[in-house]
């Protein structure tokens, strides 16, 4: 299992549009990908799950992936999460 923690830098946190971007990106990989924030873990391919985290700027999110392309998936999500989202 691949695992990495990132800090959210997008000033308004992960709201609707960033959540959509994350879910779309995660959906391109076969691996089972999860996002964990505080004591909650959700499916990274679910926009609803990601939005339910209500993750704010400065908070940490843990990305884990298992299966095919797990490593690439985690890397791609780290890249997306560790920069401000284009609005």
């Amino acid at each position: 299992m691949i695992k990495q923690v990132v800090t959210i830098v997008n000033p308004t946190g992960i709201h609707a549009r960033p959540a959509a971007n994350i879910a779309k990106l995660a959906g391109q990989y076969d691996a089972t990908i999860k996002l964990a924030h505080k004591d909650k873990e959700v499916d990274a391919k679910s926009i609803i799950g990601i939005m339910s985290l209500a993750a704010q700027a400065g908070e940490e999110v843990c990305i884990t992936a298992e299966g095919n392309q797990a490593e690439e998936a985690v890397q791609a999500l780290v890249d997306l999460l560790s920069k401000p989202f284009a609005e």
Binding site: A16, R17, A20, S46, I47, I48, M51, S52, A54, P84
Partner: protein, 540 residues
Amino acid sequence: MLQGIGVSPGLGIAQAVIYQQKKPVISAVKLEAEAVETEINKFKQAQAEAKQELLQIKKKVLQTAGKEKADIIEAQIMFLEDPAVADEIINLIKNGYNSAYSANQVIEAQAQMFENLPVPEMQERAVDMRDMGRRLINILLGRKEVNLSEITGDVVLIAHDLTPSDTAQLSKDKVAGIVTEVGSRTSHTAILARSLGIPAVVGIPGIVEQVGPGDLVVVDGNSGEVHVNPDQLKLNSFKKKREKLAFEQKELESLVNKEAVTANGIPVRIAANIGKLSDIIEAKKVGVREIGLFRTEFLYMDRNSLPSEEEQYRAYKQVVEAFPERVIIRTLDIGGDKELPYLKQAKELNPFLGKRAIRLTLAEKDLFKIQLRAILRASRHGNVGIMFPMIATMDELLAAKKLLEEVRAELETEGVVLTNPVEVGMMIETPAAALTADLFAKEVDFFSIGTNDLIQYTMAADRMNEQVAYLYQPTHPAITRLLEKVVQAAHAAGIWVGMCGEMAGNPQLTEHLLKLGLDELSMTRGAVLKVKQKVRQITL
């Protein structure tokens, strides 16, 4: 007569269509084991059908209301296909429940999840979730609702509230007016009605029960009045008023591309005040070519931390490129009635006389420099002016200018080439600045008079306090003398002087202001055509 809140101007007169989104009755039905497979397929078909409908709506919204609204519909499509919805519904069906019941359970649970999130922006997503759910469940139950896109003829639409996908299907040709039971100026219905130019009134509880289909309804989006089945005499006067409004509107619209010149041929610069990026399109619609006041506060508000230089740069660049003629960017005017939670400002007894605008930014130099850097970088893309708010003393102006020069030098060391000249100006909104305008005029490229504050500070009357509202007098001799002094000081020094307070957008004062010698009038976009019309009638 029913009184509501007018949220979109204009007068609509037509027969009522009651748009009732009655919640369907959904009962739980236990399925036989062999029926499960069929039920799952039924759900999948309905899901595909709902997706097709939403894609159609999205396409239409993209053309009529823009990308932001289309994204809301896109989110509904994503909800529909999300594993947290689709997989959960299938799971419930596998447990032996009918599809409509399963869908309702799952979608309602997700909507409630959104409502309980600590972020307001996320709570609103519950509306989108339920909007999507209603569509899906109607398909599963084979239920037909009044389809808003199939409305023919001229109608006044009466509803409890309109959802995003409802309003997306409205058009001005078919809907003469909208009345809803709930809502506010900033609610979804209000924003869309304004952008479509449909008169609308919100906040009349019980209207859905009081009005029957076919009743004749008059909607006055200016006053917020709604009249049901008025007598012939009243109806005639409403019709006359509607004709008059339509005629005036047409007259105004014919001025969009005409020049703002007086009857004797003297050109007048009419500019717009804007405060967010979506104002760009609105200002362009009324033919505005320059921005006399770009308020930058929106970048700083409703968030938990300061906007980055990059974020500000991108926003400024967008406006600067949209109005190549000129964009005056005002540096942060926070404090007073606007607070930023992350700045930890001390509570003040008299915030309008406290640490606001330039007083605050000079104390928070890091914040100020980031903004100045972003503005200077954006100046490479057009014709930019920087304007400092609330200047009262020369020291403040010189300190701000010095910081600007420091920032410019830093950027140049970093290799950022700044070739376009940048005008540096100040707001005249304190009586102190107005009275010493001759001294300030030697240090700046322009003045812009902020009359809202200048009047309240000169008359010592809080403009938000209704009990002293009578003192808010734009044409009081004290104000007129200050304006004269400022204009003379500017012209003696060879710089231009504009006005960006509400006074500039009042057509009744246009002649007064032009006679005083103002070079530019900057106003909310709603006033632009009316002031232009006035300018064209005046002989100076």
